[in-house]
């Protein structure tokens, strides 16, 4: 064993460049993989722990009290497949106010925090025992209402005025409900019988929540089947708003990770694959360059198994050295995202060290490297020692390159055609290098398309509900006409679009879809259709992308939806990207909405201010005019910018990693090629080839590899982009067709980048070849 270790140690120290290459690619790949695995495992852990502890509901129904009775709901608790069900609890979506801050909470009338399902864990205080007492759950995005303590006073905003409550406890809640504009809404609990007085039958309606656990609820298909069982037992159209399922809640608790998981996973797999091909290529090169040495050590008595161990060992050692640094680096890189996830959900922050993930990556790296090095190592073990000692070096690859011939015939400079011919002199190595390079190019294609698409989406502020400078939410106590007059009277006001958010039943769809009525110049505010046009006439609608896809709606189609029991026929004139509606629903003009709901009035006012106006000052002034009836928010795009920057940064970082690995692959290939051809290069220098021509020749090799890899890498990247985009962007409600982002300009840019990566990888070997002493090389022959 000792002689083997001595050989490994000697090889690692002597082949410093190859050792450094393996250390680098291993470090980069383990960093990315550890980050991916840590995020995937750790991010859902807080939710899973909390969900198990409280016997969380697999499905939570929100039903209209006008259409279903508590008795009917109670009867569903014995349906087939239901293992546990809560009692029907009264609910209503009610704005709570503390100081100037208001937010809508789902107020639940519930006698106790315990039960067979959906148990509520109190953080502090006690459960409400009498009217006027309330328990609030944590909510990450509200500074004032989040930091309430026992004894704090809050007020519920209702049509009849402000109703005071005293906070007697705070609770940890695993799930948010999906409210009007699909923003998660936290729950608050009062004694039964206290919810109905807060409702008005219009904007604030009374409903019931009903929680279920099922025998089979591990997948979306199983959940869909469970849901059908319950729906079949309830009156039609009885849902107040959409059903919440535990898988969505879990994904929602880590939405950023869910959004990025497909990217991170794809990049991790690519990075590990690139490591495997680079290692295989390095070992193959090591075997060729130690041909004579292998013959000698075999003659000295090393067994084939020991020779395999020597070659695998000299790869495993540097790979582990890279992993020792890469794994902690990857874990550290996941820490800020895990912290962000925890602060959003209010669930306890988990450490970023995941021993299982870290050990898996460590062992996985060893297995991967052993597998990659095995075939060339076995080849080394099978070397004929007599031939190896007598020949001194591996048989040269002296096949004629057709490419070189064609280039020469086309009149390409001789150094270029010679270099091009070298690219495939060792076919196995060329293929391995092409794979590494194609992976790098594919990620470049994805990164370009992603960056462009994300930029376009982020630039379309209307798509995520940030078109306005100030958002004014009106509670019923203040009339539409009065607020409209107030806003119009402000000198900063440029335009106002008043909206009302409702739900409609869509034929064939399980969940009600949002319908937003808009009064005013919506296109002037920045709203636009991605395809088709904005609505202009009564009966016309612009439909969100996912609804259009699922309902098979095309431009010009008509669809009849049901709004509060009344039929409404809409003609599709446009399709839009709508993050704010999770990609679902319809936007219609006010005339269209009022035709079926004459009494309805807008409650959300999107205000565009004149250039140079101070949005915060405007919001403060409007709030001060009617603090109890308005919730005014100046648009803050910093949060959106934070996430787009984070996602862009992450994709950019991952792309750099894979491009570096690809570049390392080219470096290794050209280094081995120039070393094997050192004699030819010396001869060429002896007959007058300049250093620049040598560099051109080595660059020619890299160029051919880059061009060939582009042929594979670009379509692969387009394929990857399509798959990841559909996984990523549909999650946030946008259907992105990436084919539009691959114009000739982008492809040219990618090709240029690929060539640059390949040339960068070949730069050092080219320089070394150009400056090597001819006399020394020829003397050593």
């Amino acid at each position: 064993m000792r002689p083997v270790l001595t050989q490994i140690r000697a090889a690692v120290l002597r082949r410093r460049t190859q050792t450094a290459t393996v250390v680098l690619v291993s470090l980069l790949a383990t960093t990315v993989s550890t980050m991916a695995l840590t995020l995937l495992v750790r991010s859902t852990q807080p939710f899973d722990d909390a969900f198990a502890r409280v016997n969380g509901p697999h499905l939570m129904f929100h039903l209209d009290a006008a259409r279903v009775t508590p008795e009917q709901l109670q009867a569903t608790s014995t349906l087939p497949g239901v293992t546990a069900a809560g009692s029907p609890h009264e609910i209503a979506l009610v704005p709570l106010q503390r100081g100037e801050e208001k937010a809508v909470f789902e107020i639940v009338g519930r006698a106790t925090p315990g039960g067979a399902v959906d148990r509520i864990t109190l953080r502090d205080g006690r459960w409400p025992e009498r009217p006027g007492e309330i328990v609030l759950s944590y909510r990450g995005d509200l500074p004032a209402l989040n930091h309430v303590t026992v004894g704090t006073h809050v007020r519920a905003v209702s049509r009849t005025g402000l109703i005071p409550f005293t906070v007697v406890g705070t609770a940890l809640d695993v799930g948010d409900s999906m409210y009007e504009n699909s923003i998660g809404v936290a729950r608050a609990w009062v004694q039964p019988g206290q919810v109905a007085p807060l409702t008005d039958g219009d904007q604030v309606r009374l409903g019931y929540e009903m929680a279920y656990r099922f025998q089979r609820a591990a997948t979306t298909d199983e959940l869909a089947a469970d849901r059908h069982v319950v729906e079949a037992a309830l009156p039609p159209n009885s849902q107040l708003w959409r059903v919440t399922d535990w898988l969505s809640m879990r994904a929602g608790s880590v939405w950023l990770v869910t959004l990025l998981s497909s990217v991170i996973l794809a990049f991790s797999v690519f990075a590990l694959a690139a490591v495997a091909v680079v290692v295989a290529s390095v070992v193959a090169g090591a075997v060729l360059s130690s041909y004579r040495e292998i013959g000698i050590i075999k003659a000295l008595g090393f067994t084939p198994r020991e020779i395999v161990a020597i070659f695998i060992g000299q790869m495993v050692l540097p790979a582990l050295a890279g992993a020792v640094v890469g794994i902690p680096a990857g874990a550290l890189a996941s820490a800020p995202i895990l912290k962000d996830v925890a602060s959003e959900t209010g669930l306890p922050n988990q450490g970023f060290i995941d021993p299982v993930a870290d050990v898996t990556i460590f062992l996985g790296t060893v297995v991967l490297v052993v597998m990659a090095a095995l075939i060339p190592a076995i080849r080394a073990a099978r070397t004929d020692s007599v031939r190896a000692i007598s020949m001194g070096s591996a048989p040269a690859a002296s096949r004629r390159s057709r490419l070189a011939g064609v280039l020469s015939w086309l009149g390409a400079p001789r150094p270029l055609s010679l270099g091009a011919g070298d690219a495939f002199a060792r076919p196995a190595r060329a293929i391995l290098t092409l794979i590494a390079l194609a992976i790098g190019i594919a990620t470049l294609v994805f990164a370009f398309a992603f960056q462009k698409t994300l930029g376009e989406l982020a630039g379309n502020r209307a798509s995520y509900g940030y078109a306005q400078d100030v958002d004014v939410y009106r509670y019923p106590a203040f009339g539409d006409a009065d607020l409209s007059a107030l806003l119009a009277a402000q000198p900063e006001t440029s335009s106002v679009v008043a909206t009302r958010f409702l739900h409609v039943d869509v034929p064939g769809a399980a969940d009600p879809a949002p319908l937003v009525g808009m009064r005013g110049d919506a296109p002037g505010l920045g709203y636009s259709a991605r395809t088709g046009r904005w609505f202009a006439n009564p009966g016309e609608a612009v439909v969100a992308a996912l609804t259009a896809r699922d309902a098979h709606l095309r431009l010009g189609d008509r669809i009849t939806v049901t709004l509060e029991g009344k039929s409404l026929t809409l003609q599709v004139v446009g399709v839009l990207d709508d993050f704010s509606l999770n990609g679902r629903g319809f936007r219609v003009g006010w005339e269209t909405l009022s035709a079926v709901q004459p009494a309805v009035s807008p409650n959300d006012y999107l205000v565009r201010l004149r250039a140079g106006s101070d949005a915060k000052a405007f919001a403060k002034r409007i709030t001060a005019s009617r603090p109890e009836s308005l919730n005014v928010t100046a648009t803050d795009v910093n949060q959106i910018n934070f996430y787009t920057d984070l996602i862009n940064g992450m994709v950019g970082g991952l792309t750099i990693v894979l491009v570096l690995v690809a570049s390392a692959g080219v470096f290794n290939a050209t280094l081995l090629s120039t070393r094997e051809r050192s004699h030819d290069i010396a001869t060429l220098k002896a007959v007058g080839m300049t250093a620049r021509q040598i560099a051109l020749m080595v660059g020619g090799t890299a160029l051919v590899l880059a061009v060939t890899a582009s042929v594979v890498g670009v379509p692969l990247g387009m394929l990857l982009t399509g798959a990841i985009f559909s996984a990523m962007f549909e999650f946030v409600g946008v259907i992105v067709d990436p084919s539009g982002t691959f114009g000739p300009g982008t492809l040219l840019l990618v090709f240029g980048a690929a060539v640059a990566v390949a040339l960068a990888g070949s730069a050092l070997p080219a320089r070394w070849a150009a400056t090597a002493s001819v006399a020394e090389v020829l003397r050593s022959e």
């Binding site: 001789r414 150094p415 007959v687 007058g688 250093a691 020829l778």
Partner: protein
Amino acid sequence: MSWLVEMSEVSKVFTGGVRTVALDRVTLHIATGEFTAVMGASGSGKSTLLNLIAGLDRATSGRIVVDGIDLTRANESQLARYRRSRVGFVFQFFNLLSNLTVMENVMVPAELAGTPSAQARTRAGELLEELEMTGLQRSYPANISGGQRQRVAIARALINRPALVLADEPTGALDSRSGDQVMGLLDELNQRGQTILLVTHDVKLAAGHGRRVVTLRDGRVQDDARLQPQRAAEPGELLRLGAEEA
């Protein structure tokens, strides 16, 4: 007399590991049209001398001027241009590029010098015809004999019409018949005015073809003998040269 090669007080010291003086203050002048044979035992410094004149290596001290170009002051690009246009190199082991045909091997220096491809091809064709290699233009080095390979190497050395042909043990890897043919070619070239510098350890070869025999020993010029034109060396001369080499 006009000197094609002027070496003045040239020394070459290798310092990697053990300090070795390969050439020690060598002064040597070679006239245009001369056929000079440099002889010496292994380690005497003859290959170092050839490499310095070829511009493949740099002197530690002294001055080397070839065809008016001061090699000791030239930069790498100038040396490359010098190698491609002023000298032609014939190696012991041919050093042909195995993945190029005979024709392409001959054309390489011309193409590197920027000669248009068609012109280079014509010139290479003429040289190969002259060297009786016409039928082998499309062959690869692996498919021809050692003597033929060396003839290809000579054609390659001549394609840019160099002022000086350097031959480093050109018959060392050949059988005696092929070696005679190659040396006959070099003689013929010299008779047409081509300056030739031959490095060999073979006394017979040096005396039989060189008009001048320079003997090196331990990096110094031990002897510089000019032989009579058009005559073979006398047995006594050969014995003397052989004894000096030993």
